[in-house]
């Protein structure tokens, strides 16, 4: 605890300056925003970067025969290299901009899954997947006849690596897993999962929606085949996400969406398609979103991802320690291993939505529900849970106020524990 408190007092970056970049903190009736796993807030720098694009660099990218078109194209190209560098990709060709992580995972399902899987094959996912890395595979399984199987969890809410080894086989063609759970916080050993998949010649799909905002991702070190994440969960705007794919694999895939920019020659009845990454980006793309995401990455890098991860871990550890002191709280969060700053919990005898409403009344924003993980919640034996999730602009004091507000939940809900 001492180390945690020290880190919370001295995060190694200027917390007050950081907080002054976030406008929501100026709202009347202060908001303690602990719903960062759903979507983060955006610093002024990100908003201003988008504004500047729309005011002075706005044209249709890739089509421009004039200086605004060129400005927009440059904005797109620079944003793409920023993302490529951020996740350690070999080449900008491997970076496909999507609307969000969900769309990225659908591209893999449609353009790879439907074209490469057949009856007898196995798709292996995990019990803790978000619906966006779950329902897409159900669809592929139903369409192709492939079997959908699940890696289960240990009693400590970690991925059961033994169960994984038992289930993977030569039939397994693809292993799709969340690199950080949006509910439990669990961070499984992605490198090990990918290594084992490779031993069985299975491709790997990493859902990094909850990892990329907190831990430095490196796709080459991970050696994954696909990786997906969303800008809005890491200070970027809504409406922009990323699919990384190894270029050999992307190259071999047919396109997904059809339209402008993704073609090469269009004859009446046949077409050929553009080079990567454009092949997968149909129609006019969201350059406003791209520059916003690039600005968000720059903001994170300016502080430093290691510092961010260390501070966020301290916030989460502190919060867990405080919650554990409350006898009426049940926590769903691993005790061992790596974890992200998301903590699911329930107030005994109180429904999560009532808890969230009462906390909201006290200015504390958390989330209640199944967090798009119904299969995981069935496994937990809970219809729904509460979730507090942190970002580096949160403070120890906010956690203390959150814990205090929980006491009022206990009172209002007349809980007698």
């Amino acid at each position: 605890m001492k180390a945690i408190l020290k880190m919370l007092a001295n995060p190694g970056f200027d917390l007050e300056r950081v907080r002054s970049d976030f406008a929501y903190l100026e709202l009347d009736g202060p908001i303690i925003y602990l719903d960062n796993a759903a979507t983060t807030q955006r610093p002024n720098q990100v908003i201003e970067r988008m504004d500047n694009f729309y005011r002075f660099e706005n044209g249709n990218p890739l089509r421009g025969a004039h200086r605004l078109g060129t400005a927009a194209t440059e904005a797109m190209v620079k944003s793409r290299s920023k993302v490529a560098q951020f996740i350690g990709s070999k080449s900008e060709k491997e970076i496909i901009f999507t609307r969000n992580a969900s769309e990225a995972l659908n591209i893999v399902a449609y353009a790879w899954g439907l074209n490469n899987l057949k009856s007898g094959d196995q798709i292996l996912i995990t019990r803790m997947e978000h619906h966006s890395n779950f329902v897409n595979w159900q669809f592929v399984a139903q369409k192709t006849g492939a079997e959908l199987a699940f890696i289960e969890l240990t009693d400590d809410y970690q991925l059961d690596m033994q169960d994984y080894r038992n289930k993977i086989s030569e039939r397994t063609k693809i292993v799709a897993f969340s690199a950080a759970s949006n509910v439990l916080g669990t961070i499984p050993d992605a490198a090990a999962i990918i290594r084992i998949a490779k031993e069985h010649n299975a491709l790997t799909v990493v859902d990094a929606a909850q990892l990329a905002p907190h831990v430095q991702v490196n796709v080459q070190k991970m050696d994954c085949d696909f990786l997906a994440f969303s800008g809005h969960k890491m200070l970027g705007p809504l409406g922009i996400g990323v699919l990384y794919g190894k270029s050999e694999i992307l190259q071999a895939m047919p396109p997904f969406l059809y339209g402008g920019e993704m073609i090469e020659y269009v004859e009446d009845h046949t077409s050929t398609f553009a080079q990567l990454p454009y092949k997968f980006e149909a129609g006019t793309q969201d350059v406003g979103g791209m520059v916003g995401l690039a600005a968000a990455i720059e903001y994170l890098e300016d502080i430093g991802l290691e510092k961010i991860a260390a501070y966020e871990t301290a916030l989460a550890d502190y919060c867990v320690a405080k919650l554990e002191e409350l006898p009426y709280i049940e926590i769903y969060h691993p005790k061992q291993g790596a974890k992200g700053p998301a903590i699911a919990f329930n107030v005994k005898n109180a429904h999560p939505h009532d808890v969230a409403t009462i906390l909201d009344y006290h200015g504390v924003a958390i989330r209640a529900g199944h967090h798009c993980t119904q299969p995981l919640h069935r496994y937990l034996g809970q219809n729904s849970t509460n979730r507090a999730s942190f970002a580096f602009y949160n403070t120890k004091k906010e956690i203390d106020l959150f814990i205090e507000a929980l006491e009022d939940v206990k009172n209002v809900m007349q809980i007698d524990i």
Partner: protein
């Protein structure tokens, strides 16, 4: 607005009451009501003889608001005609939408269910409060062909 106006004693008591919370083997109609976003999930059963709702029970899980609302609904409609029940649905939904505000009317018709009046200030909880009422409305629509209340 004070929290205790939402989580009033009436609502807290009714949310935990088991008076109407049980299966009904001889129900003439049962419908499921579900709020996908929050997980409120009820099965509402009624027994209708001629035009009379002779019994109403439910099973389900959900927040205090949804459970209390369902429980109060069962108590209110038991012994009422379908027409009276439909009128109650309209009054309740009218209250939630802020279209019917006269406390005297509301109290007279909805009795303790007037406790939900303040829910209109919490848009994210309105769906919890109306779940049972919309489910009953569906049962009535299926039975009688009456169009559902907006």
């Amino acid at each position: 607005m004070d929290l205790r106006q939402i989580y009033s004693q009436i609502i807290m008591d009714n949310s935990r009451s088991n008076k109407y919370r049980h299966e009904m083997p001889d129900a003439t109609a049962t419908e499921r009501g579900y709020n996908p976003s929050c997980g409120d999930d009820i099965h509402l059963s009624v027994k209708i003889e001629d035009d009379l709702i002779v019994d109403a029970t439910f099973i389900g899980t959900g927040c205090a608001i949804s459970q209390a609302s369902t429980s109060l609904l069962c108590g209110l409609i038991k012994g009422k005609t379908i027409k009276q029940a439909k009128h109650l649905i309209e009054t309740f939904l009218g209250m939630i939408k802020g279209e019917i505000t006269d406390d005297e009317i509301l109290e007279e018709e909805l009795e303790d269910a007037i406790a939900f009046k303040n829910i209109s200030t919490m848009p994210q909880r309105v769906r919890c409060a109306v779940l049972a009422w919309r489910t009953l409305d569906l049962i009535i629509a299926k039975q009688t062909g009456t169009p559902m209340t907006e």
